[in-house]
Each structure stands twice: as structure tokens, then as C-alpha cells.
Subunit: 245 residues, 2 copies
DNA sequence: CCGGGCGGTTGACATGGATCAAAGCGCGCC
DNA sequence: GGCGCGCTTTGATCCATGTCAACCGCCCGG
């Protein structure tokens, strides 16, 4: 049922991974890190468009993104679906599966990607023996909840321009954290996927990009984005409709 | 800064709590339960309108609701806020604080309520020693994430009627799980709070209630709700705008 | 028992974003 | 390297929901 996925049985070491400051082991000492190395046995490569897991799949592992870009997608029983997040290197996929032992969303690679496979039972076992790991794992889950509340706020009370500004600033900040440019990047997702995530139609996303460009906030060329006025975008996000006061 | 809150230093035992099938200890054996009793030292009573914690407060404990009804509320930097959830007996409050050691939302009692105070460091310690507790706590957090994704889907792609139908059915189901009527209950929150949660204005909530009443789906009298046609409400939720095909 | 205020309802109107439609372009596949 | 499809842009129109306003009525306190 799943598309074929190449499985690389490579020995992976968190202790030597250059994402360790973003990923599960963040903040652990070097010797603590070496304890972690027994957690990750395998990696998995995915090509663009392939699913890492799908809603309904049995849950067994979490996945840490080593490279690439993903979206997660949730669906209603009546066939509508929505992008629930975009994930990049160092972020964790699959947490949704813990609660029901079954995945509740699809994770799809938006470009050729590689993930570390973290067997969940192993993670639980290790985090019982190893307090800093337990603590950090809890933090990761808690932050995911806080992030989701932020998206709920965006979806429930922001206007189209504010949503897109918030989206761009969020991407910018995450790229910065990974050592990339804060102001210039390639969007890995389509206008439709952005719209789905932001609760807008693709036409609205496109129009809003054009509007931002006219206003000199960004320079848009297809998927290539250059933010030319970060404070300006912040101001767009901050303004409360204005008409309501 | 906080409103005065009465602290009851009562010995509380999960093992004899009639909410144990809904709360943290769900699914544990009786002897396992007794290990849990050392987790909860105190309870806290809150009157209607009081805050259990506020955004920015230092995070120290989780709270299990023994009785009553709460809302949580998140805010943007520019002053807008939104209800992020309604919580009832057996549910856990405060998970948002784990990630940053600081609470990221306000929790407000919507009626006189009582909570069990669960010191978080104690919970981590116990769940290291006690695998089923660890496992269940992870499940609770994961389910919260899945729930939030459901709300995001609602906010991003449902119409007003679908949102309100989903809201009523969700309440109904949660009341059922607590042994109350699935079809008749008192809303603890105002139309404005419902609207905030659902990304609608209070007038829209009110109008939609009236519409449901005209259609014979519910009988509404202020905060008193009687669902007269549960399958009908389900159908409202399921229909996909219809115009889009 | 009465009065005031808050929460709720309803109506009229405004509007942001959806929808429908059509054309351009750019990227990937062969 | 060229072709075709999918993504994007842009325009015209429509509609769901927001906004503004007025009134109602329940509940609480005096």
C-alpha cells in the first residue's frame, strides 16, 4: 500500500550529528549524547512526494528529520483535508501516533529527504533510564501543543495578510535557526498547500503575495522568496484589523 | 497578582477517585494505582471566574480537574486572544507549561471547580520508575496534539454550522463519557466564548443556534441545550459545503 | 418585588475571501 | 532540448460571516 521506500541500514550517531542542537538531544552533554546513540539504528530516505507514514498506519517509531522538508496532513471522515504543519531538519514527526498506537495524519516529503528512525518503545525505555532525555522529550511534545495553539489563534482570528505574514516570519525564523538566510529562501510547498495550512484558498495566497510585493515587503518569484522588509511584515501581523476600533 | 485561591491540604487518593477511568491513571491495575497515590498531595478549589494559572506564570504543576469546568485562553502580543479549549472533569491542565517552564495560556474556571495539583517533577520521577504511568502520560499529550489538529481542521475548513455542530457533538460525547446525558446539558460558557473557540463572532453563534432550533436539531433556552436530533447534527457536520462539487 | 445590567437575539448592511474563469509560465519529464 | 501539464497569477462576481445597532429577557441584588 505504501510507495516503495529505500531503507538505509546505516549506523547513525546522534553524538556526531550536526543537527544535535536542534533535535532530540538538544542541551545534552557530550557523554549523555553517547548514551543516545543506541536509540537510532536506521535511517530512511524518501523521494519527493513519498509518504513517511499515513493516517491509519500502525504506530511504531518517531522520525527525526535529518534533511529535507515535510508536510503533515489531517483529514475529516468526509474527505476534506488540511495541512497541519510543515517540518524541517531537526524536527520530530510521528508524535500524533502515540495516543492511539495508530498514526492520525499523513507525513509527506516535499523534497528528497532523510529521516532517523527512532523506535518508540526504545525511546520510552531510554527516557526512563535517562532523565535529561525524558525531560527534553516532554518539552518537545509540550512545545508542539503550544505551537498548535498558535496556529489555532492564527486560523481563528487573523486576516489573510496577517496569516501569510506570520507564516513567512515563522519560516524565516526557522531557517535562521538552521544557519540559512532569514530573508531569502525557497518555498518547498505549493500555494495550495500554504493555503490549506493557513485556512485560505490558493488564489488568496497568490493575491496576498502579490500585494506584499506591491507594498515592497517581499520579492516573490514563484517559489523563490526574498523578504525585503522584515519589520514591515511584523507590522502587518501586529495590526488588529483596525476597522474594529 | 493572582486572585486569592483557597488551598485545601487534603490527602487525595487516585486509587479511590471515581474519575480514575478518565484521568491520568486510566487503565492501570488497582495495585498500580496505589503507587500513584503519592503523586497528588493537594487540591485547589476555584470559584467561578478565578484563574488556575496565567500566561507567564512559572510552571510547576499539572492539574487534574476533579470537578467543574474550565476554559484555556491564548493571546497574541497585540492583545487579541482566543479560547483554545474547554476542559471538564478528568482532564489535565497545564501541559503547555512544560516546554518553556512558563505557562503559555490562561486557565479560567467557568464554574466553581476543584483540581488535583500534580507536581511536575514528581510526575517525571514517578513515570521513570513506573512504565505504565509514563506510557499513559505520553498518550495524554499525544492525544492533546491530535485534538488540536482536529480544531485546526475545524477552524481552517469548516463553515459556521459545521463548527457549531462539531462543538455540540464533542460536548455531548464528553458528557456521555462522564455518565451525563448525551442530549441535554448546560453550557458553562457564553456565546462569545464559544465563538472565540470556534473562530466565529458571538452573533454568528447565536444565529446558528437559532437556525438549528428552527430545523428541529436542538432546543436552545439560553445555556440549556437539548439535542433533539443527533444524527441530524452529524449530517450537518459531514456535508462539505456542497457548492464545491 | 422591582430595577438594572449583562448576555442573548435579531435585523440591516458591509466586506473579505471564496468561487468561477481564463491565460501565462516554468519546470520536469521524456 | 522541447513539449505539456501543473502551478501561478489575475480578473469579475458572489456569498458567508462580520459589523453595527437596537431590543429583549433572564437573573441577581437591593
Amino acid at each position: 500500500m505504501n510507495a516503495p521506500i529505500s531503507l538505509a541500514h546505516l549506523k547513525t550517531a546522534c553524538s556526531s550529528c550536526n543537527l544535535r542542537e536542534l533535535c532530540l538531544p538538544v542541551g545534552l552533554s557530550h557523554e549523555q549524547l553517547e548514551t543516545l546513540d543506541e536509540l537510532v539504528y536506521t535511517r530512511k530516505r524518501l523521494k519527493r512526494g513519498e509518504s513517511l507514514f499515513r493516517s491509519g498506519d500502525e504506530f511504531q517509531s518517531l522520525y527525526a528529520i535529518r534533511s529535507g522538508f515535510f508536510k503533515t496532513r489531517v483529514a475529516t471522515s468526509d474527505g476534506r483535508d488540511q495541512v497541519s504543519g510543515f517540518q524541517m531538519a531537526g524536527e520530530l514527526l510521528g508524535i500524533d501516533g502515540i495516543g492511539t498506537d495508530t498514526h492520525n495524519c499523513d507525513a509527506v516529503a516535499l523534497e528528497d529527504s532523510e529521516v532517523c528512525v527512532i523506535p518508540y518503545s526504545k525511546l520510552e525505555e531510554l527516557s526512563r533510564r535517562f532523565e535529561p532525555l525524558q525531560h527534553h522529550f516532554h518539552k518537545v511534545m509540550s512545545r508542539e501543543i503550544v505551537r498548535d495553539h498558535g496556529v489555532m489563534l492564527l486560523l481563528g482570528s487573523m486576516r489573510a495578510e496577517e496569516r501569510l505574514a506570520a507564516f513567512l516570519l515563522n519560516l524565516s525564523q526557522r531557517f535562521t535557526a538552521r544557519g540559512y538566510s532569514a530573508s531569502e529562501f525557497i518555498l518547498r510547498m505549493t500555494r495550495e498547500e500554504i493555503g490549506s495550512y493557513l485556512g485560505l484558498k490558493l488564489e488568496t495566497v497568490s493575491r496576498t503575495f502579490s500585494k506584499f510585493q506591491d507594498e515592497g515587503l517581499v520579492s516573490v518569484q514563484q517559489k523563490h522568496i526574498r523578504i525585503t522588509d522584515i519589520p514591515g511584515l511584523r507590522k502587518v501581523m501586529g495590526q488588529t484589523g483596525a476597522s474594529s476600533c
